[in-house]
Subunit: 121 residues, 2 copies
Amino acid sequence: MPEAFENIDRCDCNTIHEDVIFKVRQKMPQDETLMDLADLFKMFGDSTRVKILCALQLSEMCVCDIAVLLGMTKSSISHQLRSLRQTKLVKHRKDGKVVYYSLDDEHISGIFAQGLAHICE
Amino acid sequence: MPEAFENIDRCDCNTIHEDVIFKVRQKMPQDETLMDLADLFKMFGDSTRVKILCALQLSEMCVCDIAVLLGMTKSSISHQLRSLRQTKLVKHRKDGKVVYYSLDDEHISGIFAQGLAHICE
DNA sequence: AATATAGTTGAGCAATCAATCAACCGTCGT
DNA sequence: ACGACGGTTGATTGATTGCTCAACTATATT
């Protein structure tokens, strides 16, 4: 039994196209990469975070600014910014009491553009 | 009170940078668009769906093929394919008993590429 | 020192979600 | 007609998740 079918125990069906499975398995990125990719896109999969990222694309903003803009509490915004910080999508600088957030990745606008292209098909 | 602060009732803080909020609010895409965008990226925010999309990028596959490849049940794969179908990310053709799935969007590879670029920074 | 404001944090809760299970449909081979 | 197989579906369940609330830190003002 070739290595391509090592997972057959957890699967409830027979193999139909051995060649396809073998070829695809060889070319697939490794599991960890795809997990990281999913975790990244998870950040774009919530409307609040999308709005925050979209806003920061237009201007650096403090937590209060974002809260007023979206009509939400500082707390909820702060929680989301924490996630975005951990995923290295936003960065922050402190000026007195105020914490200013801005984008920390040049790929974000590209990801948005591709997504919008799909929406507006 | 300018219209830029119409949401101030749901917010628990004073406005700091009126000009920034006003400018950003004018340039932001409308709410519905951003909701749709989040719904799209939600599809990329799960490792099983990412793997399915990644596999279909390499070859057309039937449900059993994908199940064997990922070591999961037909049922769980079928459930995920249903979501991907509804979001117009994959299409299917039937040949006898077998249902073949393939990508239905040319932007997917672009989205993947941008995401991977962020991962591998 | 006292107060107010900007922001963070952890616990709790309701909603969302992905895998499981069992039942089912449709097509093929006999 | 029957059984086997590929695939779908709905209900259930355990886990994840986003917002709220309350408590807290830190900086600025008086």
